[in-house]
């Protein structure tokens, strides 16, 4: 995916004039890019458009209008952009009360390393966090993840009749959900056939899992 740059950005005052229409467009576009993974996790699959929008909103919120601060923010967002053989996602941990926060943010420590895509019956692609977040004793409520597909997984992912599921296999949270057809079609059109070798991504994939290790469909432990 082409990197974001300053030339993609509108100055804040110009952005204000088009913001309502752009927001409405992106809100609509993001509807098919969301997946709920049980009662506490929500995933938004990112692409250049969704990240461009988020970047523009952040610059507006922070009141950044010029200077190296714009370049810093563009660089930060470009680390989230997926490469051709990758999928990018933002993982939200959803809590609504302080008591829930105290309980679940502690329970879900390390959740960002426990999210994976299951392709068919025997291929998993494990997500990795783009950066370390959270405190020593608890997780953050927002994580930025990438899924890196080696050839074997990418070929399987593009096969039309293969079931693709997202799952969480944390000790305190195990859920699995099938990727909706509309989302799957969009992601398939975006994740290319880049030929990264299996050796280069071996540490981010487990090619075989045992059936008893897979979280139960619709009956997560929470």
């Amino acid at each position: 995916m082409k990197k974001l740059s300053r030339s993609d950005l509108k100055p804040n005052d110009e952005y204000e004039r088009t913001r309502a229409a752009f927001r409405a467009f992106v809100i609509q576009a993001k509807m098919s890019r969301r997946m709920v993974l049980g009662p506490r996790l929500h995933v938004v699959f990112e692409n250049r458009r969704t990240l461009h929008y988020a970047l523009q909103e952040i610059l507006r919120l922070r009141g950044i209008t010029e200077g190296p601060a714009i370049d810093d923010e563009v660089a930060r967002f470009n680390t989230l952009l997926p490469a051709s053989h990758e999928m990018a996602a933002t993982l939200f941990v959803e809590i609504t009360t302080p008591a829930q926060g105290d309980e679940w943010l502690t329970k879900l420590k390390n959740i960002e390393n426990c999210i994976a895509l299951s392709i068919g019956d025997s291929i998993n692609v494990r997500a990795f966090p783009v950066e370390a977040r959270g405190l020593d004793d608890r997780t953050a409520s927002v994580h930025y993840l990438k899924f890196r597909f080696p050839d074997t997984a990418l070929d399987a992912f593009h096969r039309k009749k293969v079931a693709v599921r997202l799952f969480a296999d944390h000790a305190n949270y195990r859920f699995i959900a099938e990727m909706p057809p509309a989302l799957l079609a969009e992601i398939r059109s975006e994740v290319g056939r880049g030929r990264k070798s299996d050796e280069e991504v071996r540490d981010t994939i487990s090619l075989k899992i045992q059936p008893e290790d897979r979280p139960h469909d619709g009956k997560g432990k929470s």
Binding site: E57, R62, G101, V142
Partner: protein, 143 residues
């Protein structure tokens, strides 16, 4: 000699509540001032902005009164610039801010997609803000 403020006294609780009231009033009046200016009402806009400013100064004085018992938001001491930046970073991992993704889910469930989107943007803002503050901390720490 003024009496030293103690936590968990009614006065400490009332100071925090007053801080919330003043902060809310300031934001509200700034919004109204902006609306007035957009409608071309210059004098009312100025008056509203001044009122917002008075609430801001009131809030700052409340924080000054609270500083010796610590930042009321994140329970850290406020003194040196390092301590204030640390407090600001911790504020972004405060229980309140961490609830924004959950607020987004509830808004979406109730059909308020625009509100949900705003909560998500606010939740994402923490990364940007914290990165900048951490950069400041590193600068203060020196080479």
């Amino acid at each position: 000699m003024p009496r030293k403020l103690k936590r968990s006294t009614e006065t400490w609780k009332n100071l925090i509540e007053a801080l919330v009231i003043e902060s809310l009033a300031r934001t509200r009046l700034e919004y109204l001032a902006q609306k007035a200016r957009l409608e071309g009402d210059v004098e009312p806009g100025r008056a509203l902005a001044e009122a917002a400013g008075s609430h801001a100064r009131g809030g700052l004085e409340l924080l000054e009164l609270l500083k010796d018992v610590g930042d009321p938001f994140v329970d850290t001491l406020l003194g040196s610039t390092k301590q204030t930046i640390d407090a600001a970073i911790r504020a972004d991992t405060h229980r309140g801010v961490l609830r924004y993704p959950g607020f987004a889910r509830m808004a979406r469930d109730e059909g308020y997609d625009e509100v949900a989107e705003w909560f998500e943007v606010l939740a994402r803002l923490e990364r940007s803000r914290t990165s900048e503050l951490k950069r400041m901390m590193e600068k203060l720490a020196g080479p």
